[in-house]
């Protein structure tokens, strides 16, 4: 060993000591950081416990008050969230968490209803039909869409989309009705074109050239809506909905929340579902197509059965995001704690309630602890959902390795 200064025992021990010290520091620091992260759950539990087992003379809150119907109030609702009502009147505060849980789940359900067809359809299209250059561009584009801040989406939904939809309710419904036949019509027209023209609008790039077609559909919906309203709904859809179906219509409503949050959740679900679909071993797809299956048949009979756990976990993670999203619900929902199935009425979610009320609630008060309980519920729910999704995905990865064999 041509070393100018051979390592003495002292130097070696110094180096090893330093190494041992560094390892100890890294271990301590790593465990500390991870413990701090996991402390969130512990903190919430510790703060919420006095609610049910109070230390002093204060009355414990019974789970029945939170989840079971109370006495009917003046307006007939048996579940009410009004934790500070005592300041205004001698009425006891109503602390039913049911309307908040309802609002949270309703918003998430509408968001998923909007996001899932878009995300899963896009994932299927990009893994089967889309040309490779477009697919390589689409992924980062949708990642950017995922990164859009909730406050911006919420602002556009609450102050731009909501008033617009309120004025153009009939147009929106007409567009939704026209959407599916319109897209099929595009496909039909294309297959009717001469082959040379067909090459100008290839299926691989349909995600792009269908955009002007959709704008055209929107224009058509705008044009058809008054006619549809006159024929089917007595000239005014809003009045028809209010009178015939007895629906209350709020400007900021569950449907707006669903659209905005669906927009926010869609890229997450898309990314995970696309990963699951493109992770299916190529040999299976090629085998199915060699046996004469069309690409769509391959999707239904081969890809989906193989990737279903991955798709399930994508949906779960999307649901977790939709349940916890705060700013979009806060800005687009009207924050009225109602319990209706009506998509045109307002709602109030747990996350939005925490954001509005927690700064005003005194630390240690029952109101504060109730809000922390809501936070704990959100934490537990999203944590469980994500863990489930993660476990499913790990299992799926192992299955792919088995299916793929050597490749």
């Amino acid at each position: 060993m041509p070393d100018s200064s051979p390592p003495t025992a002292v130097r070696r021990r110094l180096r090893q000591g330093r190494d041992r010290l560094a390892t100890a520091l890294i271990t301590a620091g790593g465990i500390g950081v991870i413990a701090a992260l996991l402390a969130i759950g512990v903190f919430l539990v510790v703060e919420v416990l006095p609610l049910f087992w109070p230390a002093g003379s204060t009355q414990a809150v019974s789970p029945e008050a939170l989840w079971l119907p109370g006495e009917a109030a003046d307006d007939g609702t048996r579940y009410r969230w009004a934790p500070t009502a005592t300041l205004m009147s001698d009425e006891a505060p109503r602390i039913s968490l049911v309307p908040l849980a309802w609002g949270t789940l309703e918003a998430a359900a509408w968001a998923l209803l909007m996001a899932l067809p878009l995300a899963l359809g896009a994932a299927a299209h990009s893994s089967l039909f889309m040309s490779r250059p477009l697919r390589n561009r689409l992924k980062p584009t949708l990642e950017l869409m995922e990164a859009l801040p909730g406050v911006v989406v919420g602002f556009v939904a609450g102050l731009v989309l909501a008033p617009w939809v309120e004025r153009h309710l009939a147009e929106v419904f007409t567009f939704l009705v026209l959407l599916v036949p319109g897209l099929l019509l595009a496909g039909g027209i294309r297959s009717g074109l001469p082959p040379r023209w067909q090459q100008a609008v290839p299926l691989g790039w349909a995600g792009l050239w269908l955009m002007p077609w959709l704008v055209l559909l929107l224009v058509a919906a705008n044009w058809l809506a008054p006619w549809l309203e006159a024929v089917g709904f007595g000239g005014d859809l809003r009045r028809w909905l209010e009178l015939r179906l007895g629906l209350d219509i709020a400007v900021r409503n569950a449907m707006i929340v669903g659209m905005a949050m669906g927009f926010a959740v869609m890229p997450t679900v898309y990314a995970l579902a696309e990963d699951a679909l493109s992770g299916v071993p190529r040999s299976l797809v090629e085998g199915a197509q060699a046996l004469g299956a069309t690409r769509w048949q391959t999707l239904w009979r081969v890809l989906l059965p193989a990737a279903s756990p991955g798709i399930f976990s994508a949906v779960m993670i999307g649901a977790g995001r939709a349940v916890g999203e705060t700013m979009i619900v806060l800005m687009a929902s009207g924050n009225t704690a109602l319990m209706t199935l009506n998509p045109l009425d307002g709602l109030r979610s747990m996350a939005a309630t925490i954001a509005i009320e927690l700064p005003e609630a005194g630390p240690g008060s029952v109101h504060y602890q109730l809000l922390l309980l809501a936070a704990l519920l959100l934490f537990v729910f999203t944590f469980l959902v994500n863990t489930l999704a993660e476990l499913v995905r790990t299992r799926l990865r192992r299955r792919y390795q088995r299916l793929g064999g050597g490749s």
Partner: protein, 515 residues
């Protein structure tokens, strides 16, 4: 029979219905994204473009002058209604005028209409009648506009001189006085100079004839800017647009956040994000190294790894609740009892502030950094580590000389993703320290220069506040659009950098995958 069913299952050509419906979902998502970005860009940037001022004559003989904002169909198909921004809030109490389109007799765009921006009451629109000084000298006609422009330029330079004087000479000396109780001899002269400047700004007024036929007297010292949009050439408009954008970026908000700029919010956002990165990076990298390099790779580590991944999916508001309960009420309250006893019961650290906000966001972005760094570490082949160890390096040397430099781009990606996430997060900040309007920026010339306990302004919260809590939402809308566009641009640039880095990384290390 079987043959027939298979045949019927397949359409004669093409891929069937599913292909088109799924293509439609791609197109619809992209269209929604495009529409959102286009809306923000158009409204956000369009606001600064000087729009023409219309002089509208109604069929009942009433006249009004204003910028056309939008047109809305009336209920029950009774034609259209048009919204004009007419300004002159001090005269009729309203800044907006809804006009039925069928009631409009004539619309013209006379060149002599003037739009004034004032410090109070917002805009004023009308014809410039005269400019008067205190001596009663009155300038009328075309000369009045020239005199107004000259005086405005003078005012601007006076204001700038006053602000520099106040910031650089007077405030530091006041600080010294508060601490040492002695006044610098320069102080009196500087104060006198300040009063001189103030006096030079006062005096003079402007007389405006509004379209409604009333007369508005505006003290010149109240004026911020004056322009005649109808007489401007495209080049003038471009200049005005540029200076409008610049003022939006560099000035503070006015009129309860419905006018002015967003400089304090930009500053607050950037400062908070920087503090957060300083806090999150060492800890995140430390935890990732521990998980990937030091810890025994068993069932426990796998569970911890899944847990950390899942924490990235926990709603941000939950982190905000944790920050409020632990940092603000817990640590902050204790610190107030120990160190800031004399100011109690008004809290110093026991209320939301810059430090607590950055700490909360650091916690929120910790999983992002850990996951990204771990991915980078896992991508380094084991041969590299084994080679280093075989050459006699200790683990510390192996980590610091071989592994970490190779994982540096991954850490950078993690940091950029964390910054992008933190810059857009508003919900937790509402609990731990953001302010509607913070008069003091958290950095100034007073010791200790960086005031961690102060509240700060944030772009995202500014959007929420101006759009939902302002008095005149209609007036705030253009600024909200502009702020939203700014926030989106910042986040897009950060994310694009991360995507680019990741791409660069995967091509560089493509050959070196461990699995």
């Amino acid at each position: 029979m079987r043959v027939a069913t298979t045949r019927r299952l397949r359409l004669p050509r093409g891929e069937g219905a599913g292909a088109w419906l799924s293509a439609g979902s791609v197109a619809l998502s992209l269209l929604a994204l495009l529409a959102l970005l286009g809306l923000l860009a158009m409204r956000g940037l369009g606001h600064f473009w000087p729009s023409p001022v219309a002089l509208v004559v109604l069929d009942d003989g009433r006249q009004l002058a204003g910028e056309r904002v939008r047109e809305v169909p009336l209920a029950h198909g009774e034609g259209l209604e048009r919204l004009y921004r007419t300004g002159n809030r001090d005269l009729d109490g309203a800044r907006w005028d809804w006009v039925r389109v069928s009631a409009i007799d004539a619309v013209s765009h006379p060149a002599e209409l003037v739009v004034l921006e004032r410090r109070r009451w917002g805009e004023a629109i009308g014809r410039l009648a005269a400019v008067e000084d205190d001596a009663g000298q009155r300038i009328e006609g075309e000369a009045a506009w020239a005199a107004l422009e000259a005086r405005l330029a003078e005012l601007t330079s006076l204001r700038r001189a006053r602000d520099t004087l106040r910031k650089e000479v007077i405030l530091p000396r006041v600080g010294v006085f508060e601490v040492e109780g002695r006044l610098d001899p320069d102080f009196a002269s500087a104060n006198a100079r300040l009063r001189e400047l103030q006096a030079a700004m006062e005096g003079g007024r402007l007389i405006l004839d509004t379209a409604e036929g009333e007369t508005l007297v505006v003290p010149l010292e109240q004026l911020l800017s004056a322009r005649r949009p109808n007489a401007m050439s495209p080049l003038d408009k471009l200049t005005a647009w540029g200076s409008g954008v610049w003022r939006f970026l560099s000035e503070g908000p006015r009129a309860a956040n419905t006018a002015g700029g967003v400089w304090p919010a930009i500053f607050g956002t950037v400062l908070m994000v920087m503090l957060m990165s300083i806090l999150v990076m060492p800890f995140g990298v430390l935890a990732a190294i521990y998980l990937n390099e030091v810890a025994h790779q068993g069932r426990m580590t796998r569970l911890v790894r899944i847990a950390v991944r899942n924490l990235a999916g926990v709603p941000s508001i939950v982190y905000g609740v944790f920050g409020l309960g632990v940092f603000v009420y817990g640590v902050g309250g204790r610190m107030d009892e120990w160190f800031f006893d004399e100011t109690l019961p008004s809290p110093t650290f026991g209320t939301g502030g810059l430090l607590w906000a950055s700490l909360t966001l650091a916690l929120l972005t910790l999983p992002v950094v850990i996951v990204a760094t771990e991915e980078g570490l896992a991508r380094i082949p084991d041969q590299q580590r084994e080679g280093a160890l075989a050459l006699g390096a200790t683990r510390l040397e192996m980590l610091s000389r071989v592994v970490l430099p190779m994982a540096a781009p991954a850490m950078l990606t993690g940091m950029i993703l964390a910054v992008a996430r933190a810059a857009g997060e508003v919900a937790p900040l509402m609990l731990v320290g953001v302010a509607k309007l913070a008069p003091q920026v958290p950095v100034d010339a007073d010791f200790p220069f960086l005031h961690l306990e102060r509240k700060f302004m944030h772009l995202g919260y500014h959007i929420f506040d101006a759009a939902f809590h302002g008095g005149d939402v209609q007036a705030a809308m253009p600024l909200v659009y502009a702020t939203a566009l700014l926030l989106v641009l910042v986040i897009l640039v950060l994310n694009l950098t991360a995507i680019f880095l990741r791409h660069h990384l995967s091509t560089r290390h493509g050959a070196l995958t461990r699995r």
